[in-house]
Amino acid sequence: MNYKMFLIKYAEIGTKGKNRYVFEEILCKRMRARLKPLGKFEVKRAYGRIYIEAFSEYDYDEVISKLTGIFGIAGICPVSVVNELEYDSIAKELVAFIGREYENKNFTFKMHVRRNNKTFPIESMEMNSRLGGELLDAYENEGLSVDVHNPDVMIDVEIRDSVYIYSKIIPGPGGLPVGTNGKAVALLSGGIDSPVAAYMIAKRGVEIEAVYFHAPPFTSERAKEKVKDLARIVAKYSGPIKLHVVNFTECQLAIYDNCPHDQLTIIMKRIMFKMAEDIAKKDDCQCIVTGESIGQVSSQTTFSLGVINEAVDMDVFRPLIGLDKQEIIDIAEKIGTYETSILPYEDCCTTFVAKHPVTKPTLDLIQKSEKKLEGIIEPLYKEALETVEVINIR
């Protein structure tokens, strides 16, 4: 039998003061959108909580899988609802509920009754002991016992216009509802790091757009498909992603032809950052997100990061900056991008990466090299931005 109702717990929204209403509304909106294809549900805010009520049959696993991908949700409690405000009905359902929920009843519990509806005649304390007694009568021989200080399971019974019984909390992803913290442009490469970075920023409530730099024939159509697949996985959490595909070949060749090879990556990234900034400004994004982590490759030394950063005015957020590769892989595996990330298609640059790139570039040095691009790169830059392919990933 499916639950008629879920109680949604959220952590940080509660601390947001006056904005709380807005945050809750956005979270509800996200839930409504995700649940819509799965059945008839009503998502409502009541008594300072968010409830989902089901009005049709639905697939439990599908619903839980959708809800555990929505940022802002700390936990999901499947709720049993008793409509009659009668002690006997409540007790009967409580015993049945615990019977269904826990096959193994060798655990300790504590009753936690709240009587918000004061027309109900029995007080909370008395309800606690009477209902606890009913459970012990039913399941004590199977190992069930009471522990009011450190229970394995807290059993909640809320008495309102109906009675709500719940005990399990399915953990949600945490974070904040997407759309409550502005918008970012994430650089997606097709590797392991960048989708994780986009995920982490989305988790803080930021809407995501993405930029991918495509360099045919040096990168393949499959590499682009792979980036689309990665964006699709991230979009399961972040909601729809507007993916900008920039054809970067001409710019890359111009850099190759005119600049010292050991500086190619740095100069290339500076131009990519500028393009991302232009796209971000045009689409009202406030920041750029990258998957860089200190020291991972030569262009991610503190020297290189500094020089690259100088290319743009906009804030660049690097949520993975202090993580080890394995820590990044662990998150990638958890969110489901890892398997796709490791597919072996060329990313944009292996042809162009120098065998011994600079690791301690100075801004002075790089700017001198960039001088050689003056008059050459501008039309290519403009052309690349004018021919961006926009793909809406859902």
Partner: protein
Amino acid sequence: MEAYFDNAATTRVYPEVKDIMIKIMEEDYGNPSSLHMKGVTAEKYIREASEIIAKTLKVESSEIFFTSGGTESNNLALIGTAMAHKRKGMHIISSSIEHASVISTLEFLKDQGFEVTFIGVDEKGIINLSELEAAIRKDTIIVSCMYVNNEIGAVQPLNEISKIVRRKNPEIIIHTDAVQAYGKIPVFPKKTDIDIMSLSGHKIHGPKGSGALYIKNKTLIKPIIYGGGQQKNIRSGTENVPAIAGMGVAAKKTFENFDEKIENIRNIKDYFIKKVTELPEVYDNSGEAPHIASISFTGVRSEVMLHALEDKGIYVSSGSACSSNKKTVSGVLTSIGLPEERLESTLRFSFGEDNTIEQADYAFDVISKLLPMLRRYVRK
């Protein structure tokens, strides 16, 4: 212009193949095992297909078994034979340049306790016959050697191989993966003295998911798929009638005007190789097969060249298409001793009866324009 030069990866089905498949799916959709008319009609398609294929190989139709393709045929041939003969011995001989569906199957058999010897090849990709002879033992039960190599088109001397094997140990089962040979060069297992031969439908303008295995009468083999006992218990499962009939029609069409068609394909291949190797630092690694040209463009990574050609409507493969999503340097090219810089700059152009000399000219023009540009951009 468009030029599909990837016919060793797969081919376009003949219109007649499509027609018969649609007819079967729409009208004659019965289960060949059913006792009623619909079943009998379906069964007739299978009989016809096996008769056509048997005729092209000059064998009995009772010696043809249908599978889901070359990979399954190779699996059934190797695992089925190994299981049926393991009491006699557990030693298997194969070559170092086999298709992944043979190599991986042999790796599996290794895990099951079989011993496998891989015989090396010379710089043309031809198996070393004296090494083969020396490797044959009393407990050898299978010698498996591909007929035509899928990457470079080397044609193995199967006649000599079978003679050597029979002389040293007549009980050995000889298997050949003839997926790239069937429909390209004359293939007659009885004359060549081969016991088991793998075929694929989609390489000869038949549908994907169709394949066959020639198993000489009285050859002991165990099934690898168990079920309702179809196809004399060798390959259970309701027969894929549309695919089987499609493969039959494809085989029939392939062998119409065979010599003329093959000559034409070979002319295109030779013409293309001749022109393209006139360009600086372009090398030919091709074998004798009429349809496969393996060309190294030194200084350009094969994937880059592939995508640059794709952009101009020319479709080719790097490595072999079936395994190109694994990023490894080709085992075949390594085995024939290609130098490092050619290993990663080799493309396969494979021709078919739809191709023309004009397409070869077009590809040559495109390549001669692309090469100088692409060669400028290398890692430094």
